[in-house]
Amino acid sequence: MTRQFATSGGFRQAQLTNIGQIDGSGYEFNLRGQAWRSARSTVELFANAAYLKQTLTSLGGAPPLKVGYARYRGFMREGDPLGSLYAPRLAVPCNGAPKKNSAGADILCLGADQLPIKASLNGPALTRAQLLQYFSVPRDIQTGAVQSALQPVLADYDGNGNVFEQNVGDVIPDWSGAFVGSFNLGTAWKFQTLMEWRTGFKVQNLTDGFRGSQHPSIGSNLKEFDEIAAAMENPASTPEQRVAAAETYIKHNRRLLEPGLHQAEDGDFIRLREIALTYNIPSRLVSRFKSRNASVTLSGRNLWLATKYSGQDPESNENGRGSTGSLEGNFLVSTDGFGLPLQKRYSLIFNLGF
């Protein structure tokens, strides 16, 4: 893979290096059956599920490799699944004694009256009363002063001492598969469907990270953000409403300033990849055109999608826009960064065989 050595060594370009080892294992299950059969019709079904586990077992002593630029949070670290993401995570209410991380330290958590908001880099979590005081006057969240007065309280869940890089999952699906159905009616009609599904992976939603953020030009163009900003700066709103807006902002719309915060989402989906209806034209009609066979097919691709992913498409990938020969080309996947969603596509096909 291409490895970027420290540029203080004099070279900016990544070097193609055989530096490590990836171990992979998996299972694949296929089930095929004929659900119905008669003299004139058949129904055939096929289901597939594949599990894949890939672990980066060695980087040959090299430090972790970063995949993509700072806002893309992919890393290649020894012992991690391929495509692991590291991003900040907000502190949550304590609900009792603080939990311990893997280093044996208390994981920072919030007291009953605290919100995950602090006023400075190393400051404590603010209480609701302190925030009400701050929001006794309207505030413009698009100004740097307000953004730096409302910073997220982050916690070290992994025990790595780095609150900005906590493991939040990986971008390569654990499971993927398909359902295929085929229905034949006589020799004339054939109806086929293909559904694909993937689960157990994250998508980096940077598109909405920008759009729903406080950024005054390329951000702040989603309704949810406008409602937050409006509540904070409206002189007619109450301090309580402004604090509620600030809480929503920190928990959902605080983006870009701490790269990766709120960016990784579950990408599980099932999609109707293809559906097609074919009519084979009877030979008596075909022969008039001196053809051996002919058919008409009406098909559609990507007509239906079920997912909890909030972005435009869990299959969207930034890398489709650029080169694929680099580390990013191999491992920058499931990165929704201003790429295009998959289009619905309809086809009407005439086949004539001679």
Binding site: F5, S8, G9, P64, A70, S148, A149, N162, F164, L257
Partner: protein, 470 residues
């Protein structure tokens, strides 16, 4: 496949034998053709390291260092400009905004992070090239350096990249070599200025030997700048608490002053040693000229220019200039020239940067005089400068410190100096947030995030800000 085809051929008829022979021949040709795809070949367009051992390539090598230096400086001018009041964010990129608001210490900032590899490349390449050219210079007849002025030019470039690092970084890694990592300088950071001064000294000595006044005056001017920078750097490291920043800090360095006097003796009035970018060396993680006049991400600062409401560029001519000369109260003509050079669409995206100049030598000497309470010399130096600038003589108003600060502000505009002047004069940039690190502490750019990721000897974790600059 080859063997299989033979086996088939033996079992078949004569006609098939013929067919098999054709197949065998084809397979042989195909297998032979596989050598076409061997990767162990010599690319005639690739420059291999051995080629750099040929003295005939010395000039090209030095030109390469120069191009790399210009790329680095071009970017530093942008990040320092954005971090100071010289430039203001006017576009869409968040990290320009954060620099503009005084967040200079974030290793993740994509612009300070992005420029770091370019400065590192220039530093390494300069050291490497010096090694090569010094070898040529000492070689016996036949493999000698053909133009020794190239070496003087190279020493000057090498000195410049080191001082550029010293002027603008908190810390840096200079001992890494190719794939071998080294630790940051840390408490020994001032060694970058020592390296810079040592290179300039070599340049001056060689230029004098060659009778080359051009590179002698350039290196002298830059050595004065490096000594001045070293004195300033010592001021801010390691103490950075706000209390020490309240009082202006004036440099009175005997070495810098001596070099400035010597440089002035060789410089015509108004002389400037300039580095010009062009299509070949304008690239980098970003190009400051492109960001200012093409992409319109950053523009000249609001204290300097009147912005065209319909765009992010200044109004044409003097109408676009806001900053006035404190003596004449007229729009400052020096700044107007500087704005023409950097910040108008008619300027184009190829930024030209002044590395050393007659006016800077006067400023160094004026500041030393002011620090020594030598009013007569201060007045003389300032007024020589102002005469060349075409502005009225200074007669005591505004205060001496203010006229010095103004002189530096307009004469060194967009030369990567303003951030340190903010810090030492206690002047806050107009866009700095009060809780920003630049507002509170005299901090500069950190070792970049990418360097930290790739070099375990650099500060960890990679994303963390240096303790002194939080």
């Amino acid at each position: 496949m080859h063997t299989h085809m033979l086996r088939v051929a033996r079992r078949t008829s004569r006609a098939s034998h013929t067919l098999a022979r054709v197949a065998v021949a084809s397979a042989t040709v195909l297998l032979g053709g596989c050598t076409l795809f061997e990767t162990d070949v010599t690319n005639p367009n690739a420059v291999v390291e051995e080629a750099l051992s040929d003295p005939a390539g010395a000039t090209t090598l030095v030109n390469g260092v120069g191009a790399s230096l210009i790329r680095s400086h071009n970017q530093v001018a942008g990040t320092v400009g954005a971090s100071s009041d010289e430039l203001t964010w006017s576009g869409s990129r968040e990290y320009w905004k954060l620099l503009d608001e005084g967040d200079v210490a974030d290793p993740l900032n994509e612009y300070s992070n992005g420029q770091y590899p370019y400065l590192s490349e220039t530093r390494w390449l300069a050291d490497y090239a010096v090694g090569q050219l010094e070898k040529f210079d000492k070689a016996s007849t036949g493999s000698q350096l053909r133009n020794r002025a190239d070496l003087a030019r190279l020493y000057t470039y090498a000195g410049f990249i080191y001082s550029l690092v010293g002027e603008n970084y908190e810390d840096f890694v200079i001992a890494s070599d190719r794939q071998t990592n080294a630790a940051p300088l840390g408490a020994n950071f001032s060694v970058v200025f020592d390296s810079s001064i040592a290179y300039y000294t070599k340049a001056i000595t060689l230029a004098r030997t060659l009778g080359n006044a051009e590179w002698e005056r350039n290196a002298l001017g830059l050595r004065a700048r490096a000594r001045f920078g070293k004195a300033l750097s010592g001021r801010f490291r390691p103490a950075r608490n706000p209390g020490t920043l309240a009082a202006p800090y004036l440099v009175n360095d005997a070495g810098a002053s001596a070099d400035a006097v010597a440089a002035l003796a060789l410089m015509e009035s108004g002389y400037r040693f300039r580095l010009s970018s062009n299509a070949q060396n304008n690239g980098g993680y970003f190009s400051t000229g492109f960001e200012v006049v093409q992409r319109l991400e950053i523009r000249a600062g609001s204290e300097y220019v009147n912005v065209n409401p319909a765009a992010t560029i200044p109004l044409d001519g003097l109408a676009g200039i806001k900053l006035v000369d404190p003596v004449s109260a007229a729009k400052d003509p020096v700044l107007a020239t500087a704005i023409n050079d950097c910040c108008r669409q008619s300027t184009g995206q190829f930024l030209t940067i002044t590395a050393a100049s007659w006016v800077e030598m006067q400023l160094i000497l004026a500041e030393a005089a002011l620090a020594a309470s030598n009013t007569a010399e201060f007045t003389a130096r300032i007024n020589q400068l102002r005469a060349v600038n075409g502005v009225p003589a200074w007669t005591g108003a505004p205060a001496a410190l203010d006229i010095l600060k103004h002189g530096r502000r307009v004469n060194l505009f967009m030369q990567g100096r303003r951030l340190v002047d903010h810090h030492r004069f206690g002047v806050k940039a107009d866009r700095w947030l009060t809780n920003s690190v630049a507002y509170r502490k005299a901090c500069f750019f950190p070792i970049s995030y990418d360097e930290r990721l790739q070099n375990p000897l650099a500060p960890q974790p990679a994303v963390a800000r240096d303790a002194a600059c939080q």
